[in-house]
Amino acid sequence: MQVRVVAFVLAWCGLAATAAAQTLPSEPVTFGEGRVVIGGDAAVSIAPRDNAYFNYSNYDHNLLRELRLGMTAQVRATERVSLLGELRTENADRISPYALYARIRPFPQRRLDVQIGRIPPTFGRFPRQAYSRDNPLIGYPLAYQYLTSLRADALPATADELLRMRGRGWLSSFIVGDRTPEHGVPLVNSLSWDAGVQVTASWDVLTLTGSVTNGTASNPRVSDDNGGKQIATRVALRPIAGLVIGSSFAHGEFVSRHAQSAAGARDGSFGQRADGLDVEYSRSHWVARADAVLSRWRLPMVGDAASVVDGVASHAPLYVASLRAVALSVEGRYTFLPGAYAAARVEHLGFNKITGSNGPLEWDAPVKRVEIGGGYYLQRNVIARVSWQYNERDTARFNRGRFVAGQLLFWF
């Protein structure tokens, strides 16, 4: 694996040098009269250790403290068909194909595109701005990054077991299904992409997207693990220049077949449904954005831990838990000098209450986050950024986190 990582890094540097001449490259590398276009980005982020795991992603990395190298490519096979892909390595531990899909335009004169493969998320605004250049801050929004305690391959037997995992989404374990401790899922995963088919039709003021994929918004998958497909839609309206209003929906089977079987659930739908609303308005040197995501999961609950042996329940689930989470986010960016900007984001992530033996309590610990920062362009495609992030979680331990983070970002 290390050999592959080293080869990838060398290839990345080679491409950068090819494009660079005597300075850092600023344009993508092209071959074959523009048929092959290769871009790259590198980000080094530094921050103190996050002992409370506020900023960990589903790749088990602290997003404020990582080295990331990415290489994207687009190959225009014909006038109608392009192949797109991305290879990325984080902290040089492995190379992952984050994206690999074909983009087909059946009618060249119409803005109708079909994408097939490991495709970008349909849901939400942020996945299209998740790359560091488009994200005004170093941290990610809670809805798209923060790990709840829920897992698709493991289930709590009781409400008490779920409540014991409050605020422990970075390493969650339950007794039904896979009992190996693993990270949980965010409300919407912007870092891993789903596999399936996506169709987008665009007009001047309206873009409509629909997709059918293997995973769910919180648990994208390359291969299906439960036989259920997710249907996702997004409507983006641009009534005037600078204003984008987006509405997203996603619904699919969440719990893996293995976990359902372990819980004794023969019938029923144990899925995730997510609804999102986002607004962006920009003018002059300002960009303001607001996001709301509501996610609901249905989980089969065995009802008593005693009936679970080696991860398998001896009887059918007694009830279905309906779990909700709501994430609200507001952010703004202001360019106060050429090449210098300030940005801030305020967020809240809340959960509905379930009743355990000690009474009703949110099934996961609510989180608040404030991040304030800024960036300075050293050159057009090199940004130095710094941010201060404050996190607060409603748990007895590891309930606060304050971080000053720095990032150097380069792309071509």
Binding site: V37, G39, Q74, D204, T207, T209, Q379
Partner: protein, 233 residues
């Protein structure tokens, strides 16, 4: 009567002589103040025309972006490295424009004198955000919609690279000179710099940032055109 005619004829002759004398002196004086000027003309041969920048692969996009124009990258700029002192006395404030149309700047290369006002009108239905981080001129016009325009005054000689913060494939060059002795080539690579005073000059051809060819040229005292071709790699 005859004497009156004689006097009148004498007055006419004297007046004519005076006019001729003053006029001749005046024209001799002008000739002494304004030396003959010439022009430098020729062709810039661009051996390898740079390909227009492509959009970065839009991996996160839900479909193909809207079509755009492809900029013409064949324009070079020829200019005098040094200029006579009186070339810096012109204090006019010219006004020119760089359009933003179909996600492309028109023209791609603009050469101006210091003090020139450059308008950046947006003719697209989407926002643009023109900016530059060049040493000669650092500015950020912010986002503005179709039909709006913003203006930048270029006061310092130098090379200014202009970009759009929203569309990374959009770029243009503004070359700012402190004298008027420069020209942008046409689509055939031809140029002409007029009104160059007699003397010997270093003349350079610039192409897309770094490709330069510098040559020496002499405008003879009697003026006239001088041919000078360049090759940029």
């Amino acid at each position: 009567m005859r004497s009156t005619l004689r006097v009148a004829a004498l007055v006419v002759l004297v007046s004519a002589a005076l006019v001729l004398a003053v006029g001749g002196a005046s024209s001799r004086s002008s000739a002494a103040q304004l030396p003959a000027t010439g022009s430098i003309r020729g062709r810039v041969d661009i051996r390898r025309v740079i390909a227009p920048p492509e959009r970065r692969p839009g991996i996160t996009e839900l479909g193909n972006p809207a079509p755009r124009d492809v900029p013409d990258l064949r324009a070079a700029v020829v200019y005098l490295e040094t200029a006579p002192a009186r070339a810096f006395e012109d204090r006019r404030t010219p006004r020119v424009r760089i359009d933003q149309r179909n996600e492309t700047f028109y023209p791609h290369v603009l050469a101006v004198t210091t003090g020139t006002l450059v308008d950046f009108p947006n003719n697209d239905s989407t926002y643009h955000n023109v900016f530059s981080l060049s040493k000669a001129k650092r500015f950020d016009l912010g986002r503005y919609a179709k039909g709006k325009s913003q203006t930048v005054r270029f006061e310092t000689p130098g090379i200014v690279r202009v970009f759009c913060d929203i569309h990374s494939h959009m770029s243009a060059w503004v070359l700012v000179f402190s004298h008027p002795f420069f020209a942008t080539t046409d689509t055939d690579g031809r140029y002409r710099i007029d009104n160059v005073p007699a003397g010997t000059y270093a003349v350079s051809a610039w192409y897309e940032g770094s490709n330069r060819d510098t040559r020496s040229v002499t405008i003879p005292p009697q003026g006239g055109p001088v041919d000078l071709d360049f090759v940029v790699q």
